[in-house]
Amino acid sequence: MDLSINFQLATAGLAMGSIYALVALGFVLIFNAVSVVNFAQGEFVMVPAFVAVWLMDVLKIPFPLTYVITVIFMGVFGIVFQRIAYYPLRNRTFLPVIIATIGVSIFLKNAAQMVFGAEPFLMHRPTPPDVLKLAGVFIDPQYIVIIVCTLALLAFQYFFFEKTSLGKKMQATAQDKDMARLLGIRVATMIAITFAYSSILGAAAGILVGPIFYVTKEMGGMLGLKAFCSTILGGFGSVPGAILGGIFLGVIEVFAAFYISSGYRDAFAFIILILVLLFRPQGFFGEKIAEKA
């Protein structure tokens, strides 16, 4: 096989995988904090993409400021979201919560269509539009932007959770809410911050993926589901698992679409998921899923 093609595919796969990893991280953080699977996670990517396009195209706000505003917007968005779809249902079984998050997801898609119309948008690139040519290999510069930004975000997140007091309080809340409360941690606030942060991860993913995908109301749906796949592949609840699961899935998907079938591109993630659950249900970094007697 042509080596340069494989190199190109690998770059695209890593970029896609980085996006999955960001969204998957959002999933896992929310799940760890409140045991809720958020089916609107994909819309956490779609909404900021629209917001950013609107800021750039309509208000003509320059790149850096657009990004800052979008991130702040999504932080607030995450807090409002948890107030509506999680907080009233916090003491209920997982089924109503799942359906409520799905309800919010349908709502957001249709709201986006109503506000921005049904036409797809293409987000401006922060880089020159020319394709880079490195040692005979063509690479979309946006892929590099995605990979570098994701790495930077992960480094920031590591620092935040391991080295800051707020990050440690959030971790304590995720591990044992009652104990955290007894220690004087404001659990409800920590949960709200977790949602806000998860939503900001979505903002990052939306801003990064916008220039290579069309921005449409449907852009988040499949992204969210595949990110969810990534979390299960990595081992549900595991932060490194979500990241590696996402990158693994992105790379596999790009190669499989190229070498096996592009029509079934969206199926590979789920085929791998079902196989993994059949043979290694705990994922790569597994949580135990059996009930205790």
Partner: protein, 610 residues
């Protein structure tokens, strides 16, 4: 009015209502919508079986709906087969796809199950789009024929309505009958507590797959109705994940577990968007907000709201008054049948003969580095009460879990009456004659006392899906026999009069008794009791001791884990003592009480002397 007399009348009224409906609603637009809502209703009835009865989430229902639609459409357009048999084939083919989904999801619950069913649905939809040679791809299938009745083509929405409505009546009837039967109880047991269901002799694997298959088959039939009506056109984008979500929302809106609720939910969510169309662009937003609001403000769905109303309570009481169970219980009280502590029919093989019933050799269970049980040998003699004691964390419950099949031992061998049962599934072990209770009570709390004990008899009864729906004389006789025995069990433990109480409404002590009655109902040779006296007051403990002796007198061997030492010393013929996963002593009660190692294990040794 008597319920039995009323049933044919209700049926007649329903039939008349169906016949008259197209005369009352003449608009083809609305009739087409009603036909569509019936197609959705049938898919939701299926969802109600897998989710409402068996408690397994499925987010692939639209895909099965699509499998049914495509099966029937392809056979009729491609091969020119007549419509009626093709609709049945759609039912069966979708059911087989349901089995395919059921198998990989067996060990999964919660979000794993949700994700797998979503993935399965998306893969199926992608196949519909990409397998162009078979499905025609994104273009879909056009000109799907209508069914014929003799020389009459049922093409009008009004004539097709009869096909749809009578199908709905039949399938609703079947799913309601199924719920109150051996199969339905097994589904509900799997939902209520899967672990307890297994130890009650229910093969949870088989029942979960059956639930997925039935659910998919219903959806498939609904899909076939969809294909042969309306626009007579289908394409892959109809059978999407979003549609699965809508079907789920319909079932949950109606009220999880209620067949009628599922139909009401499906009808509302089909018709409401039409009513909301005046909102133009925002109608889908209002619809979605409505779904969220229902989740927040109506936890039990519509069925949950209606259930508490006085009229609904009275209707239910009137309906239940006619049921075979109510009448049998009433008759048994009137005639004194099953009253006065008639003995449990003891196993002939159990009575009299001595020797080892249960034998355990070198049993070990390691969780990672933790050796919870580490090479225990133990024998339980027939007809005795044996106690298994030890400090907290010594491995007692772990042993019970291995004996009853919930844990697979790391090494070692367990044999019951000479048959090796090591590592067998819980339901197989129950069928061999071992029953158990749990330390933290695991009743099927939402079900009645009577149903709990009936579930205990699962492995000694055999009605499958078809007899459970059709209920021929043999099935009715089996049910009557099971109820008779259940009443005897309730009499034996002292719970007569509580037959129709909800299990989790009983006070704590009675819940323990009910768990015993449920275990006894499986005709065990040996009964494993995990801390039966935990949480009981002194009087209740007295009664429990008396009950334990009565059980032993019926020839049933007992293996008991208990912390109440006076109870243990009082009832046990033989005691085995564990500490840190190893056996440290065994023998008669008096010997154990004086054993220095046992005393040290419980009270600890002084560090200096150790």
């Amino acid at each position: 009015m008597n319920t039995r007399a009323a049933k044919p009348l209700i049926l007649a009224l329903l039939v008349v209502a169906v016949l008259v409906f197209p005369l009352a609603v003449t608009s083809n637009y609305w009739l087409n919508l009603v036909n569509l809502s019936i197609s959705f209703s049938i898919a939701c009835l299926g969802l109600n079986i897998v989710l409402g009865y068996a408690g397994q989430l499925s987010l692939a229902q639209a895909a099965f709906w699509g499998v049914g639609a495509y099966t029937s459409a392809l056979l009729t357009t491609g091969l020119g087969w007549p419509v009626w048999p093709c609709m049945l084939i759609a039912f069966i083919v979708a059911g087989l796809f349901g089995v395919c989904l059921g198998i990989p999801t067996l060990k999964l619950t919660g979000h794993y199950l949700a994700m797998t069913t979503i993935g399965f649905g998306i893969i199926l939809q992608l196949i519909l789009i990409n397998a162009i040679w078979l499905t025609g791809g994104s273009d879909g299938i056009t000109k799907i024929p209508s069914p014929w009745l003799g020389s009459l083509e049922l093409k009008d929405p009004s004539t097709f309505f009869y096909v749809a409505a009578f199908s709905l009546l039949l399938l609703t009837w079947a799913s309601i009958r199924l719920k109150d039967s051996r199969v339905g109880r097994a589904f509900l047991a799997v939902q209520g507590n899967e672990m307890a269901a297994g130890t009650m002799g229910i093969d949870t694997t088989v029942y979960k797959i059956t639930a997925f298959a039935l659910s998919a088959a219903y959806a498939g039939y609904g899909g076939a109705l969809f294909a042969h009506s309306g626009s007579h056109y289908i394409s892959p984008d109809t059978f999407s994940f979003d549609q699965s979500v809508v079907l789920l929302a319909m079932a949950v809106l109606g009220g999880n577990g209620s067949a009628i609720g599922a139909i009401v939910g499906a009808t509302l969510l089909t018709l409401v968007p039409e009513v909301l169309r005046f909102l133009k662009d925002s109608y889908m937003m209002v619809y979605a907000a409505g779904i969220v609001a229902v989740m927040i403000f109506m936890p039990g769905g519509i069925a949950g709201l209606v259930k508490g109303l006085p009229i609904a309570l009275r209707l239910r009481a009137w309906w239940n008054a006619g049921s075979a169970a109510t009448q049998q219980v009433a008759v048994s009280v009137a005639t004194g049948d099953g009253i006065g502590g008639r003995p449990i029919p003891a196993k002939a093989a159990n009575a009299g003969s001595n020797g080892t019933l249960l034998s355990v050799k070198g049993l070990a269970k390691h969780f990672g580095g933790l050796k919870a049980v580490d090479g225990v040998d133990m024998e339980v003699r027939r007809g005795e009460i044996q106690a298994l004691i030890g400090p907290n964390g010594s491995g007692k419950t772990t042993i019970l879990n291995m004996l009853s099949g919930l844990y697979v031992p790391t090494t070692g061998e367990i044999s019951l009456e000479g048959t090796v049962i090591t590592g067998r599934k819980p339901h197989v072990i129950t069928a061999h004659g071992m029953a158990r209770t749990f330390q933290n009570i695991r009743l099927f709390g939402e079900l009645t006392v009577l149903d709990n004990v009936l579930i205990g008899q699962h492995c000694h009864s055999k009605a499958g899906v078809v007899p459970s729906v059709l209920q021929p004389a043999s099935q009715q006789a089996e049910e009557a026999g099971m109820r008779k025995k259940a009443l005897e069990m309730l009499e034996f433990v002292g719970l007569r009069g509580k037959e129709f109480a909800q299990a989790n409404s009983l006070p704590y002590g009675q819940q323990r008794l009910l768990e015993l009655a449920r275990a006894l109902a499986s005709d065990p040779k040996i009964l494993l009791l995990d801390e039966p006296a935990a949480g009981l007051n002194a009087n209740e403990t007295e009664a429990l001791i008396d009950l334990l002796f009565r059980i032993r007198d019926q020839g049933i061997t007992i293996l008991l884990v208990e912390h109440d030492m006076s109870l243990v010393m009082n009832v046990s013929d033989h005691i085995t003592v564990l500490n840190f996963g190893k056996k440290i002593a065994e023998g008669a009660a008096e010997a154990i009480e004086k054993n220095q190692e046992v005393i040290d294990a419980y009270l600890g040794t002084e560090v200096g002397n150790a």
